[in-house]
Symmetry: C2
Subunit: 242 residues, 2 copies
């Protein structure tokens, strides 16, 4: 299982992905689920992937090689817009489905992949999309300024209660770390370390790109303080009058 | 969908169940999922049910009529122990599976039911069990002093972080209401009103049995204060040093 979360905020984007892949509880390994495509002062695009690792790696490799469309080969380094980036990722998903889908189906393995595509291309707006297994996609909006992949339920309540489009980027970092911590505690197939990326609108380069390990002092502090804060908060609520 | 949660604490039991049943988003109705069996100064047993409503109602009706075992008819009013109560509920589940399971299967409807059984019989300890669709069951222990039915993920992080076996009963009430509120916000097929039950060890009668509606002032206060408290808590965490 995987947990990835992306915030699409007034000032930019915050992405966080875990790194655990598992094919059964006794077959666990670590793979980065975050991929970035950067041309200085021209574009910065990031992907996060969830689902069957064979499928998501095939999609990423295909995007790396480029996809032939209308007599030219497109990659995430050549697409003119973020909308086209999401379309290209969707096309890669469909190509992998055509190649591998039938055999997977015959072996009762669901064709399961979802990909978050976020970033900015010079002169255009910052956008964030979620591409489904069918290659179609949705986009984050001010009403729902976050998108999640994989094991999303444990980490959702904190986002639903607190996050807004106008939330500050560094507050967003705290919120995704809290959301990830809730998920890590409840689902063993989501695991440390986690990959964090912060992108400030217009920068065309990441503000923070960091692998956070189990003993990162900031993450440990959040884990401890958050538990305490919840304990204090519920104790401060008066007992029911009945 | 359903969300029910039971706390099995040092001082007693707290149970909370929503009341929504849905067969599709356009076929929604209200059913109590909590049933109590009370003989003054002798026993107090409560059930909460989740899963297919046809199955769970059949189980409850069967328990009401009594189940013939070893030449006598047993009900939750006659079982000598809480362990036997859980067994009897499991037997009722298996009888319904024998009667209805094959046809449900033929129509691709999963035989899906889970039942929380909690209470005390005079002179014996207070216990809480979770009976599965197969009629077998597990019991809450000081290590894991709560059990959940149905849509359990949204409401789990708060319990995992804060709840302990030694948590005070009225603090337990706050926690199950917070846990329910997280679930109500995230899953529309879990709905108000909710049924709350508080049982203090040795009382052989409920301390609180109350239907909490949308406009209950205490529940509204919890909803508001909890959101605020989370907002204050995450704001109080310092921003990352990187």
């Amino acid at each position: 299982m995987t947990y990835c979360v992306g915030l699409w905020l007034k000032d930019g984007i915050v992405l966080l992905a875990d790194t655990r892949t598992s094919a059964g509880a006794d077959n666990v390994s670590m793979f980065s689920k975050m991929h970035t495509y950067h041309m200085e002062d021209e574009r910065f695009i990031a992907l996060m992937t969830a689902g069957n690792l064979g499928v998501s790696q095939a999609v990423v490799n295909l995007l790396h090689e480029g996809i032939r469309t209308h007599e030219r080969v497109e990659t995430l380094y050549t697409v003119p817009t973020m909308f086209r980036a999401a379309q290209l990722v969707g096309e890669a998903v469909r190509i992998v489905f055509e190649t591998d889908g039938k055999t997977l189906q015959a072996q009762n393995v669901p064709f399961d992949v979802s990909i978050l595509v976020a970033g900015e291309i010079k002169g255009r707006s910052t956008r964030m999309f979620l591409v489904y297994s069918a290659g179609n996609f949705i986009e984050a909006t001010p009403d729902t300024p976050y998108l999640q992949l994989g094991e999303h339920k444990y980490g959702k309540p904190i986002l639903d209660r607190v996050l807004e489009y106008t939330t500050d980027l560094m507050d967003g970092v705290k919120l995704v770390l809290i959301s990830m911590d809730s998920t890590l505690r409840s689902n063993l197939t989501v695991g440390m370390p986690v990959d964090l990326l912060v992108y400030r609108k217009g920068a065309l380069a990441p503000a923070v790109k960091r692998r956070i390990t189990e003993d990162d002092p900031y993450f440990r502090m959040i884990r401890d303080r958050w538990g305490e804060a919840l304990r204090d908060a519920y104790r401060a609520i008066p007992v029911p009058p009945w």
